[in-house]
Symmetry: C2
Subunit: 157 residues, 2 copies
């Protein structure tokens, strides 16, 4: 439930690597895929989407590859999510124009859920790929909510 897709994981790994290798370091798909044991073809597709979204710059040539197009601080996790998987939404209803949800007319929980969604999106926007490679102490703009829980929360998958 609420799990990030594998493609997003791949994207974050790749971007984090590129962020560490400097602003204009060039990495190619094969190398990244090999390093992280990612199927090259699928990573290639992911990178293409990141490129289309304007997050990275492609260099289509031998010894080419990809480099960051904007600073690592400017690339939020939300932007990566949106680039790779499309618009992010907690609630499965659409906006006012088309209402495919069978419960839409009777629904009385939409407003608070959208509010919750905005909060989550805010967090996703606040976390940049620059901060992915840094230690917890360096994180800024995101409050640590782990104290609410007795111990680190884990998950299956």
């Amino acid at each position: 439930m609420l799990k990030l897709t594998k493609k997003v994981d791949y994207a974050l790994l790749a971007l984090n690597l590129m962020a560490k290798s400097g602003e204009d370091g060039i990495s190619n798909v094969r190398d990244i895929a090999s390093l992280y044991s990612i199927p090259p073809e699928i990573l290639a597709k992911v990178m293409q989407k990141l490129s289309k979204a304007g997050l990275i710059q492609s260099h289509n040539a031998p010894k080419g590859g990809y480099s960051l197009k904007v600073q690592a601080e400017e690339i939020s996790v939300l932007k990566v999510l949106t680039a790779v998987e499309g618009p992010v939404g907690i609630v499965s209803c659409s906006d006012g124009t088309d209402r495919t949800c069978q419960q839409h007319d009777q629904c009385d929980i939409r407003s608070p859920l959208e509010r919750l969604q905005n909060n989550i999106l805010w967090f996703l926007e606040a976390l940049s790929i620059r901060e992915l490679g840094q230690e917890p102490a360096v994180l800024k703009g995101v409050t640590d909510g782990s104290s609410v829980f007795g111990q680190p929360l884990h998950h299956k998958g």
Copy 2:
């Protein structure tokens, strides 16, 4: 991406209804399903899970149904999520015991992602089904992050 499942939606709708009908108002599956146009069989299953999780009380008899087992303020969205769909996790890797993720050993983004996850879980825990039926102004404990975005964010479903 990051969408709640339909079953969770059903659960939230039902719980919100029950919360509004008072602490010991009894609602049965057929009525709720009819009101919200939910397939009765699937709602039945959802309610059973909520019952097993101790969130609601079943009354197995004619004129029976379900009633809240604990106060509406005590039932967080996170508890509903967990009851209906199992453990919630942003990252798809598991804890240290079993590592099915092929990238686990090389992964250097786990820690910040788990932190992000905890933040999201905190929000889900902070929102109770009591607040689902209330207007935005009444919401407490959850900051409104919508100001970050120019206009309400929508999504496809």
